[in-house]
Amino acid sequence: MMSNLTESQLLPENAVYEHTIRAGDHWMRRIEKGQTFRILDLKGNQAADTLFYNAEDPDDRYSASDTIAAQGALYLTTGTRLMSTRGTELLKIVADTCGRHDTLGGACSRESNTMRYAHDKEHMHACRDSFLRGVQSWCHHMDKRDVTCNINFFMNVPVTPEGELDFADGISAPGRYVEMVASCPVIALISNCPQLNNPCNAYNPTPVQVLIWD
């Protein structure tokens, strides 16, 4: 998987936008066609749960299954085309110093935490609550129906040839990043995962940074 590492030539000081998303927060922003979008794992092994929508028509949105089927592969890295439910290419990954990103594992929720861990975990803050606040605040036309299967940048969910699936220790590290170019205007919605039950971030959620270049 390390053969996929591709560095970017872009310099942070030339970015037109920069923002740090604290763990447990959501962030939503329009990205124009041709702009480059980087997510930077500041402290390492943090999961950036991300949804994308076609900004011209948010009914057309990121599709995990269409992305997997289009490339015939489970993991996302340099060269992966992020596809929508209509078969539109939303973005393309052009640089990646982590090497592998997940789109099978979805986002944590208070409801699924009761199923996965224990009924008394229901009060704990989770990504799907952040996604809901994101879509509710964006416009009147978006709601729970728009919270679909996301990308987990920096997260490692290996599948064996026998079909077993696990949540492994992260393969990211401080300073690793993934960078993509928008193929059309998109809306990005990130929930910086607050999960305290999963070893993927060593039970310590940390901030991530987003940068945009023209």
């Binding site: 299954s65 489970l74 099978l104 594992g105 699924s112 996965r116 224990a118 709601d143 728009d146 079909g163």
Partner: protein, 242 residues
């Protein structure tokens, strides 16, 4: 699975067709691959709260599995179980690759429209899902990764996927038992990764019958502690509601 109960419903569905119904909790749906090589694309929703829907990630990570088989369950996005797999011939069913887009169908098989071919025209799974969803007030925003019954997609160490031909043989069947009143939307289009260059979707038989009551030692709830907790969530929901 032995079946002593009489059929409430029976229907044959040709290849490239669509179907949707609400099936109540406590009933089973058996799907039979009549000729071998069938694919049934399926979406599931809570019939009374259709924003609650089948969730591929929760189904996979709740059971630490990449595919579906007996006695695993179909989880919703709300920590509950929509249905359990109670009988299973093929033993491996895909749920990560989604359904075919119209552009894929045209690229793979060419174009055959209604004017030319009447009801033998070439159709895409996505279009058939949208038509059936539309009848229940749903649409594009409700399209999520579906189940592909009878289709096996094998991953390698690097995550590359390949379609396994001949996985389901003539007469193979799979039976699911509903734990929530569910809207079932399905079509019999070919799997998006089916390498067959010809448009040859296969027929299936659908049968609905009463399930035996779910006991505390049911294999679907005991197979994983996550499933036991999800069954408890489902029972709480049904108890409060009905």
């Amino acid at each position: 699975m032995s079946q002593s109960k009489k059929n409430l419903f029976s229907r044959e569905l040709g290849g490239g067709q669509m179907w949707s119904k609400v099936i109540g909790r406590g009933k089973c749906l058996r799907m039979t691959d009549l000729e071998g090589g069938a694919n049934v694309g399926m979406l599931l929703y809570n019939a009374l709260e259709k924003t609650e829907r089948y969730n591929m990630p929760d189904t996979l990570k709740g059971q630490k599995i990449f595919y579906l088989r007996e006695p695993y369950c179909l989880h919703s996005d709300m920590g509950r179980i929509l249905a359990s797999i109670v009988e299973d011939g093929p033993g491996w069913h895909d749920t990560v690759c989604g359904t075919s887009l119209p552009s894929l169908v045209e690229e793979k098989y060419g174009k055959k429209d209604y004017q030319e071919a009447h009801n033998d025209w070439y159709r895409a799974g996505r279009e058939l899902f949208l038509i059936e969803l539309g009848k229940w007030g749903l649409g594009e925003r409700d399209l999520v990764p579906n189940i592909n019954w009878f289709s096996k997609i094998a991953p390698d160490e690097e995550g590359k996927l390949s379609y396994v031909p001949g996985h389901s043989t003539a007469g193979s069947s799979v039976t699911i038992r509903f734990e929530l009143d569910s809207l079932v939307v399905l079509n019999t289009c070919q799997h998006p990764l089916d390498p067959n260059p010809r448009y040859e979707p296969k027929p299936v038989k659908l049968e609905v019958f009463e399930a035996d009551p779910v006991t505390s030692y049911d294999p679907s709830r005991l197979v994983r502690p996550e499933n036991e907790r999800a069954f408890q969530n489902t029972e709480d929901y049904n108890l409060l509601r009905f």
